[in-house]
Amino acid sequence: MDVFKLKKRSSYPFETIAVAFAFSPRLENLLYEAKHYADTFKSNLILIHAGEKDLKKEETFDTLFNQIGFNKVKTKVIWMNGDPTETILDLCKLNIVDLLILGALEKENLYKYYVGSIARNISRRAKCSVLLLTSPSVAPKKIKKVVLNGTDNAKTVHTINTSIYFAKAEKIKELTIVQEIDMPTFTMTIAEGSTNSEVNKIKKDMLAEESQKLHHLIDKCYCPDILINIKSVNGKPGYAISNYAKTKNYDLLVINSPDSQLGFFDRIFTHDTEYILADLPCNLLIVHSRV
């Protein structure tokens, strides 16, 4: 494994896409989606199955492979035994994967949520960008509405640029960047004694400051031919944008990769990315900027 190739590697273009598949009822749908994205981004494709290989599985897979019509030159199939999460993560690193595509249920049951499903565990730990598809289909639905998180973080520039790259490939004309405004203890502070005009001024100043920060980030991005809309939503980071994406029926939500490795404790006291993973509002692209 050439780790040096991974470090500081740009989050786009998606030169190599990997798709992790299991022999579930959604296998065919997921493989059609894999072909769609490999064609869209003109990428090399790696199809990974972490689990036992037997004759029946091989036959099923070969039938689907031929039926979907994958480009045999640009597609590689890997079967490997082992713990699915670890195996898929290792193979992604080894093959310098830029985008890993996984099928994921919108919501897991409580037990699975705390223990962690394979798709969500990979999303928390992957060293490449991850696309979670909530409803893969044999006729991949065109992504039209994309919303991304404009959080004040060094990674956001890469996330915006990756979203623009994604939008161009999918011929999307506009992107919405959402700023989440969270003011912990604000309610308590104003109840401590503030006049209406003071509260309004604090809110106005804060919005102006946040807007300035986001514009500063957008200025660093190259976004010709794409209309960028900016929206502010109040609420806790992660939950606010997830709720926004759900109520406004977005097709894809794009967020930064987590700043630190998320664990069990982060699911008990849910925050940021965990709010989104707990109840996926739509397809989710987690951009790993490798910075």
Binding site: T185, F186, M188, A191, Y239, F269, T270
Partner: protein, 416 residues
């Protein structure tokens, strides 16, 4: 059934009206002077109480506040209820996810910002109880020293948040670390205080003590996991299907009272139940912000003034003021918090100047210290002299924090 007679009922209404109106005027003055409004409320309590009005015109004092009659019992019930509600709204602002998001800086700051002041407070109280003018049996000394440790380690989130907002430091990395650390300090501080209360009374064996600790931790874990999930599930329904904002208001306060009653029944203290219920409800992303605001406004502007003014009505601040004890408590409070929290912030990656700013930020004790002191006084853990010294320490630390932060941290140097 116990009932106030006609005259007593009028007395209660006059007392509450006087407390609320004068507390509002005094806190408005405090707000204009840019000092915490709790200082205004305490001040008016001292003016109206035995320290000043009672000294110069005892007949007026007894007319306005007939505390020796049944009115005193009714007022006492209201102030106890106020303490429960104040802890409920304090809990509502504790966000564990904010602590997790701030990472090691918040953990180091909070940990050392608690452990060092706790140790210094405990050490002086245990080995030099004479400094505080106290004479104890051994088990009483241990509980008193545990309390002094807790009193030195607690922070006051409301005052700190207000100071950070006024100094334009709120949305900086420094501000968020101070807020997150204060949240963790409050949580641990109230847990320890509850443990002290549960340990009170002689002859508890170690097995009983361990059981008390398990109950406190178990109840907290239950409410913050299962309880919180249930609240998360039911809040959207409550806010959508029941009348607004009445539904969420009455059910939230209902949960608070049940939780408070349960912890009181378990021999801990009602305030812990209210505090934990506050965390479980306030931490829910499903809680409508307007509902949060209504609960805060209602409690902060009705029950908080009644509570803080009543302190001055019960205690003679002039008679119980002891300069030496006050100075000792101030020195211990400043040194413990400044050393502990600053060291934690330094280990968390802040510069020397910023670390000192974090120390001063967390040094503000405000209302939380006063509530803690009041409950300790009622429980017989401390006497009036120490209580007065703690109130003064709470006010002095709160007033000086703002100026120190302004001096040490430049808000234009955003760290985020």
């Amino acid at each position: 059934m116990f009932k106030l007679n006609h005259t007593e009922f009028i007395g209660l209404l006059v007392a509450m009206g006087t407390m609320l109106i004068l507390a509002r005027l005094s806190s408005e003055l405090a707000r204009r002077l840019r000092i915490p409004i709790v200082a205004g409320e305490i001040f008016i309590g001292i003016v109206l109480g035995p320290s000043i009005l009672g000294e110069f015109s005892s007949s007026t004092f007894n007319f306005l506040f007939p505390l020796k009659s049944n009115v005193g019992i009714a007022l006492d019930g209201i102030t106890q209820l106020s303490a429960v509600l104040l802890l409920f709204i304090a809990g509502m602002e504790v966000q564990m996810q904010l602590v997790l998001r701030q990472g090691k800086a918040a953990v180091y700051t909070s940990f050392l910002g608690m452990v060092i002041p706790f140790f210094i407070g405990w050490y002086f109280a245990f080995y030099f109880p004479n400094f505080f003018g106290m004479q104890f049996k051994d088990d009483e000394k241990f509980l008193f020293s545990l309390f002094m440790g807790t009193a030195m380690s607690i922070s006051a989130l409301p005052v700190i948040a207000k100071i950070l907002m006024d100094t334009n430091l709120f949305r900086t990395k420094l501000g968020m670390v101070i807020i997150a650390s204060a949240m963790l300090n409050d949580l641990v501080g109230w847990l320890i205080f509850s443990l002290i209360i549960s340990l009170m009374g002689t002859g508890k064996s170690w097995s009983v003590i361990l059981l008390d600790i398990s109950i406190i931790i178990g109840y907290g874990v239950f409410m913050l996991t299962v309880g919180k999930k249930l609240i998360d599930k039911s809040l959207p329904w409550i806010q959508k299907k029941l009348s607004w904002p009445g539904g969420v208001l009455s059910l939230s306060l209902g949960v608070c009272f049940f939780s408070a009653a349960l912890t009181e029944r378990l021999g801990i203290h009602a305030v812990l139940g209210a505090f934990i219920a506050g965390i479980a409800i306030g931490d829910s992303v499903k809680l409508n912000e307007k509902a949060r605001e209504i609960i805060h406004q209602f409690i902060s502007n009705v029950f908080a003034p009644l509570f803080f003014v009543s302190i001055g009505l019960k205690i003679n601040f002039v008679e119980n003021f002891n300069l030496n004890i006050t100075l000792i408590i101030l020195v211990i409070a400043y040194s413990g918090k400044l050393i502990g929290a600053s060291l934690g912030a330094k280990l968390g990656g802040f510069s020397n100047k910023e670390s000192l700013a974090v120390g001063f930020g967390l040094n503000a004790r405000g209302a939380m210290e006063i509530i803690l002191g009041t409950l300790a006084l009622e429980a017989g853990l401390i006497n009036e002299v120490i209580f007065v010294a703690l109130v003064i320490m709470a006010l002095v630390t709160s007033i000086t924090s703002g100026s120190a932060l302004k001096w040490l941290a430049n808000p234009r140097e955003k760290i985020v």
